[in-house]
Amino acid sequence: MINKIQRTLIELANIHRFVMRFFREVFMPPYEFKEIIRQCYEVGWKSLPLISLTGFITGIVFTNQSRPSLAEFGATSWLPALISIAIIRALAPLVTALIASGKVGSQIGAELGSMKVTEQIDAMEVSGTNPFKFLVVSRVLATTISIPVLSCYTAAVGLLGAFLSVNAAENTSFRVYFDQVFEAVTFLDVFSLVLKAVVFGFTIGIVGCYQGYHSSKGTEGVGRAANWAVVMSMFLIFIEEILIVQIIQAMRA
């Protein structure tokens, strides 16, 4: 039991050191712009098909599930407002982050894990390159930049999916639908979407990199790094969601 507590404390200290090192190195030259852009392409562009499909389906399903409850009070005309608030405040950043932690987090964990066990990270270090800056800083920055962009895109695609459902059932026109959508959304809603997405993006990147960078020897270690990258980032995303909602509510009051 004492050993377990000791191991947990050591792990927490290592995580703290890792995160602090990121903030120290992110501002120090040389800057790996080319690698950051390449990683943004890997994280953002390559996730687009999956995010598009998921966002679109989320919009349709959420609208179809919400309609009966509003219909009971004869309030289906409120659907666009309800959908926009739900998608922008909660669903878009959360769905994007969960999809990205599965796709991107595991990829980063496995990639760095495999580089670690095949000594490619050591090879970088002995050839005068800072592997932390090249591998970790670039990936964490890429997820922190890409996830907010993807979240905004998910919101747009989700609202489009919801429009199809609203248009088919209530015969609402495109213009009326989006008028109601934008009327319901406040600056704080958009701010909360971006804030959440930035925090989620950072979490996915840093957790994936930490797991990969510290993976133990062997292929089993690579698998574990990929697995833990997903599990830990998803867990942290939900915790962060709760905290950010509290902060935004406090700002709203």
């Binding site: 095949t118 050591d122 002995v126 390159t129």
Partner: protein, 257 residues
Amino acid sequence: MLKSGGHIDRSTQVITVRNVSKSFGDLHVLRGVDLHLFKGENLVVLGRSGTGKSVLIKLISGLLKPDSGTIEVLGEHVDELDEKALQQLRLKIGFSFQNSALYDSMTVRENLEFPLVRNKRHLSRAEINHEVEDVLDAVGLLHTINQMPSELSGGQRKRIGIARTLILRPEIMMYDEPTAGLDPITCIEINGLINEVQEKYKTSSIIITHDLACAKSVGDRIVMLLDGRFERQGNFDEIFDTDDERVKPFYDYNFIT
């Protein structure tokens, strides 16, 4: 055939290891090791698997920190250097890994360019291309320049790994098991390459191995790591002129069985 060793400057030590110990938990790998490498010398470190040979060169390169003792490389104390100074020192140390450690998402050209573009930022594209082609030519693999590491044989990967370290023109080379897992013909080629590198690039080298044919072919001096310490040193014949039961099986396995 034993090497002559006429090119060695015995008045200059490029690496000096004094009383270095290293443990991993309860496992004491190195117990007060002393070692020196002369300028221009090829020093072979022999020893059984798991005796800390690779740990030793990782300590010298600053990839690991010793528990106690001092390591001096080219006049600088490795364990006292900050990150930036260590990075500068590493440019003078080439490290050839046991499994080559090529970046598997990059082509051979990109693997070789990687250390160059980051450490010699003033070079033009034409100069980078020239350097890459020159060093690939030196290891006889210019034709693989656009291939991925996964398309190369074990011997070719080793050669490319060596080329990648040579591109920064290091003063010291570290070879970690350069012939492990290779067929005898390729082993002879790699041994030849190590000697060519020593001659052409005027490097001083530490070669970690348990392949005695390699040790005999490339070593100007051989040291043997036994129970966490260097207990024997000399040329090939001097090392194995003993009845020590910890040493004899090495020779018997390689040259009698």
